[in-house]
């Protein structure tokens, strides 16, 4: 079940050397270690401190070899292979040395193998067997490290048992090299040497972020998952893809029958290369949480108790209601929301259901409220609604610019990769109102932190362009070859205007002009420059403009079309790229083709045997508006929770309350389900087959490891609903759905489950020209032909500070919780973060008499709520910040209806507010808590039966 461990990392070199190991000739890239070469030759050299995810260390002295013509017994993990080298890995002398070394290890190790959690999967045990250890002559008396030791069980997911530690340093090195947190060290020296978290404290009190890299690296039971301690070692594993963020890490679900024992990051997963974070690695317990609803339920009114029914009855009821409402209020009176948490196949089916069975285009996805401006902005400029690179590309970047993203919290596994590159010397520019960890953390320091005022991205990005153009830093050759001349000339004239200079925009943005100039020079002249951005760019009234401004910068400096550069949207959810690709928008069919395009429409009409509306349908906010004016009456909402996640909660709640039939398909009774008439139980990522597409366009397999708790995977539910509506859908397996997608979508033409299984994963576009996918986009020319510059006029948001609302609220998320928290709140991750807090600068806090931990009332033009304060200099004066993981916080009660001009992506990141010191929850919170109790009671009636 374990992958081959080559002992030391792979080396890339343009020269190969051939050496001879135990009589076998083997050729390896120059710089490869003898140990790795040996594994390649099929020879396993004993080892303990070496593992191929970490740089060679040479401390355990077990991997000694003999090399002809050399004295002594060099360690194979630290000796580079050389041409003509003759290596012997076995000899009587080596056997003696190894046995003696092992004897010393075991003389200070408890002999409790049979009752040890690592039994059967312990490298120390295996190596003792390999070297033929038969006795320990030193006896067990005297000083040791294993009697009377205290286990550290503070972390909810793993234990640290110093009694089993052989001080191989793998955990310390993993924390440094793989994760980049540096939370572990070896304290003391000699016999006193011990692995220590922080300052010899409990793991939970240390800087540890619980990524599990140390647990993964540990060759013994010293660092061990609590689930393995409880259940034992797995007997089989299934490779699958994480269902949290847009990094899309590959995992091996280690199983006992249909029960998950642990999730181990997959070494060959190209998005994560064997690394993981606290969510994907550990926070999967929600899948079998007692709150899971596994039976379909219906009710006539949202004030009625729920009634459990059969699948047949629930589906027939939902279909009947949809048809009844359409008959009475017209074809366009119903619609659906597609989830970025579900698989590509499921997303495709829901939009197909809407277009073919509902007969309209009223389908939208939660990408509307996160990365819709990315889709728009990148399509307009570069020609494709997707990021341009692989994650691995960052290893070749010389300058990294992070705009409105907080990778160490939001995309932690990619952040580790980025930090590795930064430690190796790449320069870093951060554009963020807040001091995110990347600005300053161990071994990382931003060269420029442009600490802008929320809502002024476009001003700062355009000012950067101004410097590049006016200081002659444009890559003229790239522009001449690859971009539209007239559009570029117009843009150049526009950005060069004095009004767009850093000096002119300083008053608005709050960023010193000199800092903007220095950052622009670095970006334009520092070598390969790559931009990574997140929702801090898109979730603004000028979200699309900012995305365009980013694309403009990359084109102007020629930073597109090769490794190490590019425009990289860090996607929020596991399948936000995929849900967009699958035609989940009201104006687009799969592959980003507009519904008004007759040729595309005819293609789908012919394949689906229906006629498709040529007019775009309703976007999410339009659906809510239409619900309030009575023209939109029913919603099929799959795996999404707009009541918590969408802005202006009270507005969303009234819209849902106004509908006649709300069908929610989800794992839990989420906030939206409280307004539902039909509840269809969903299936977690462990319970179904399919694919997710991550932020680098990588399509990876999701594989079923257990049967759906409700009896149906989500795609089967959509299929049943469609059949009940009279539009037949018949698929035996999601692979058939992907085959249909491939037939109808040019960028997916070469995609199939078979091919993904064979290659591990693949990046679209994948077709006849690029049968194995496309790691880097726009290599020789842009997808749209010539790159197009667009004018990015800065227009301040309408959400302005006034005397009544003098502060700007901006939002984000933390490492341990995930979005609306439906999953992570139902795991031990609450031990890391159990409430949303309001960050406030000491000046603003003092002015209002607010101290750390105080309850603070936050009032905006949309509503008010109450949170506890964290007084911190992370935020700048005039700016406050919160997360939105807990429904009772009501973070979105405060956010407003303002949205991006092009895509309606809500302006979550800028809300003018005032704070007051209070001593009780807001009215909305009291009402919501009451409603929550009522709805739980209505649920209890159904599930008690």
């Amino acid at each position: 079940m374990n992958d081959i461990d080559y002992g030391t990392p792979a080396v890339v070199a343009d020269r190969e050397v051939t050496l001879n190991i135990d009589g076998v000739a083997v050729s390896v890239p120059a710089g490869t270690t003898v140990m790795r070469a040996a594994v390649q030759a099929g020879v396993m050299i004993p080892k303990l401190c070496a593992t191929d995810s970490l740089e060679p260390f040479g401390s355990c002295r077990l991997c000694l070899v003999e090399i002809e013509g050399r004295r002594g017994y060099p360690s194979s993990c630290t000796t580079p292979a050389e041409a003509g080298m003759k290596v012997r890995t076995q000899s009587p002398k080596l056997a003696d040395l190894r046995r003696n070394v092992m004897e010393l290890y075991i003389s200070d190790h408890p002999l409790d193998c049979l009752t040890c959690a690592a039994n059967g999967n312990c490298e120390l045990q295996t190596m003792a067997g390999t070297v033929g250890l038969r006795e320990v002559r030193y006896g067990m008396a005297g000083a040791n490290h294993f009697t009377d030791v205290k286990k550290d069980e503070s972390n909810p997911y793993f234990t640290y048992d110093p009694g089993k530690c052989i001080v191989c340093n793998r955990c310390v090195r993993a924390c440094e090299e793989t994760q980049g947190t540096f939370a572990l060290t070896i304290s003391g020296r000699g016999f006193e040497s011990r692995v220590s978290a922080g300052q010899s404290e409990d793991f939970m009190d240390s800087e540890c972020v619980s990524c599990g890299a140390c647990v993964n690296a540990c060759p013994t039971a010293t660092l061990m998952e609590k689930t393995v301690i409880a259940k034992g070692q797995a007997e089989h594993s299934v490779t699958t893809t994480c269902a949290y963020c847009g990094v899309g890490c590959g995992f091996k679900a280690e199983m006992q029958g249909s029960e998950v024992v642990r999730m181990v990051p997959w070494k060959d997963g190209r998005a994560n290369e064997g690394h993981a974070c606290v969510k994907g690695r550990f926070a999967w317990g929600y899948a079998t949480h007692a709150d899971r609803i596994t039976k379909p339920m219906i009710r006539a009114k949202i004030s009625d108790p729920w009634r459990e029914v059969s699948w047949e009855e629930a589906i027939a009821h939902a279909a009947g209601e949809f048809r009844r409402i359409q008959d009475k209020h017209g074809r366009n009176s119903i619609g659906a929301l597609v989830s970025s948490r579900c698989t590509n196949e499921e997303d495709y089916l829901v939009q197909k259901l809407v277009r073919a069975a509902f007969g309209n285009n009223n389908v939208d996805t939660c990408a509307r409220v996160c990365h819709s401006p990315t889709g728009y902005g990148l399509k307009q400029t570069l020609g494709e609604s997707a990021g341009t690179q692989t994650f691995k590309s960052v290893e070749k970047a010389d300058v990294i610019m992070v705009v409105g993203a907080n990778p160490t919290d939001g995309h932690p596994v990619f952040a580790s990769r980025m930090k590795r590159r930064l430690r190796a010397g790449a320069k870093l520019i951060v554009l963020d109102p807040r001091e995110i960890d990347l600005v300053k953390s161990p071994h990382i320091r931003a060269d420029h932190h442009l600490k802008l005022r929320p809502g002024t991205n476009v001003a700062v990005l355009t000012a950067l362009a101004h410097v590049i153009v006016t200081e002659g830093l444009v890559n003229e050759r790239f522009i001449a070859e690859r971009c539209e001349a007239q559009a570029f000339a117009d843009w150049r004239e526009f950005v060069a205007r004095p009004a767009n200079s850093p000096e002119a925009l300083e008053a608005d943005s709050g960023v010193p002009a000199a800092e903007v100039r220095a950052a622009a020079r670095l970006y334009a002249t520092g070598g390969n420059a790559a931009i990574y951005y997140g929702l801090g760019v898109t979730e603004h009234s000028q979200g699309s403009t900012a995305v365009i401004a980013i694309a403009n910068l990359a084109m102007a400096t020629g930073n597109v079309g090769r490794e190490g550069v590019g425009v990289n949207p860090l996607r929020g959810q596991n399948n936000v790229q995929g849900s967009c690709d699958m035609g989940s928008f009201p104006h687009e069919l799969p592959g980003y083709r507009h519904v008004s395009d007759t040729i595309t429409r005819e293609l789908f009409e012919h394949a689906w045997n229906v006629s498709i509306q040529p007019e775009p349908g309703l976007r999410i906010p339009n659906m809510f508006e239409a619900a309030l004016d009575g023209s939109f009456r029913a919603l099929y909402c799959q795996g999404e929770d707009p009541v918590q996640s969408d802005p202006n909660t009270q507005h969303v709640q009234s819209a849902l309350a106004a509908m006649e039939c709300v069908v929610v398909q989800d794992l839990f009774l989420n906030e939206t389900a409280k307004f539902a008439h039909v509840f269809l139980p969903g299936a977690s990522f462990l319970e179904k087959d399919g694919t997710f597409t991550n932020a680098e366009r990588r399509i990876s397999r999701v594989r079923k490891v257990m049967a759906p708790l409700s009896g149906k995977a989500d795609w089967e539910v959509t299929m049943a609903l469609s059949n009940a509506l009279g539009y037949p859908m018949h698929y035996e397996h999601p692979s058939q759905i992907m085959d249909e997608i491939a037939r109808l979508t040019p960028t997916f033409a070469g995609v199939s489950f078979d091919k993904i299984d064979r290659l591990g994963s693949l990046q679209w576009p994948c077709n006849d020209e690029t049968p194995e996918g496309t790691p880097t986009m726009h290599v020789d020319s842009f997808v749209r032909g010539k790159g197009r510059f667009l004018i990015t006029q800065y227009v301040p948001t309408d959400e302005k500070v006034t005397r009544k609302f003098p502060l700007l609220l901006t939002t984000g998320r933390v490492l341990s919780q995930y979005n609306v928290g439906a999953q992570t709140r139902r795991t031990e991750n609450v031990r890391f973060y159990d409430e949303d807090r309001l960050e406030i600068h000491p000046h603003d806090a003092e002015e209002r008499g607010i101290s750390n931990g105080d309850w603070v009332g936050i009032q905006s033009r949309a509503g008010d709520t109450v949170l506890r304060a964290t007084v911190t200099e992370r935020v700048q004066p005039g700016v406050v910040y919160t997360t939105f993981h807990f429904p009772e916080s009501g973070a979105n009660v405060i956010t407003t209806d303002n949205s991006d001009w092009a895509t309606n992506c809500p302006e979550y990141k800028v809300t003018a507010v005032e704070l007051v010191h209070v001593d009780q929850p807001s009215e909305w919170q009291l009402r919501n808590a009451h409603e929550d109790k009522v709805q739980r009671r209505l649920l209890a009636g159904a599930t008690a039966k």
Partner: protein
């Protein structure tokens, strides 16, 4: 403490690899490196607390607790051992068990021909130390318990 630390940080601001010099200065000023200083040192140098802790605990020279009033180093290297330093060390340990003077072994004070040797507070060296001579030296320090 914070003022002392800031002054020390200021002095080493432009020095690469300044962790050890900073730790030395702190110990010189405060007599030890307090646990509470570690997060501040880590922040100043862009290191983790664990890394700073690892360095402090690696070198026996750095203390994590306030120093005793006096430290007596008893040489336990080979030459002194040959002249009876093991017995002297045992005597010293017993004698100083409860007081505010601490005994630490040291490996060679460079007085190999005239051992056993001891050093008091890194200031004075004493040769051919018998248990009696040790007691009178300690008494002269004004031992308090």
């Amino acid at each position: 403490m914070i003022t002392t630390l800031n002054a020390i940080f200021g002095k080493h601001q432009h020095q690469a690899g300044s962790l050890l010099p900073i730790l030395h200065d702190i110990q010189h000023e405060l007599g030890y490196v307090p646990d509470e200083a570690v997060p501040l040192i880590a922040k100043e140098l862009n290191l983790s607390r664990a890394e700073v802790h690892g360095v402090i605990t690696y070198y026996h020279h750095f203390r994590q607790t306030p120093p005793p009033r006096h430290v007596v180093h008893v040489c336990c290297a080979e030459a002194c051992q040959a002249n009876g330093s093991e017995a002297l060390a045992e005597h010293a340990a017993a004698r100083l068990q409860h007081g505010d003077i601490s005994m630490e072994p040291v490996y060679c004070l460079g007085l190999c021909s005239i051992g056993p040797a001891i050093q008091i507070d890194e200031t004075t060296l004493h040769a051919r130390v018998t248990p009696e001579k040790f007691d009178s030296l300690v008494a002269a320090l004004g031992e308090r318990s």
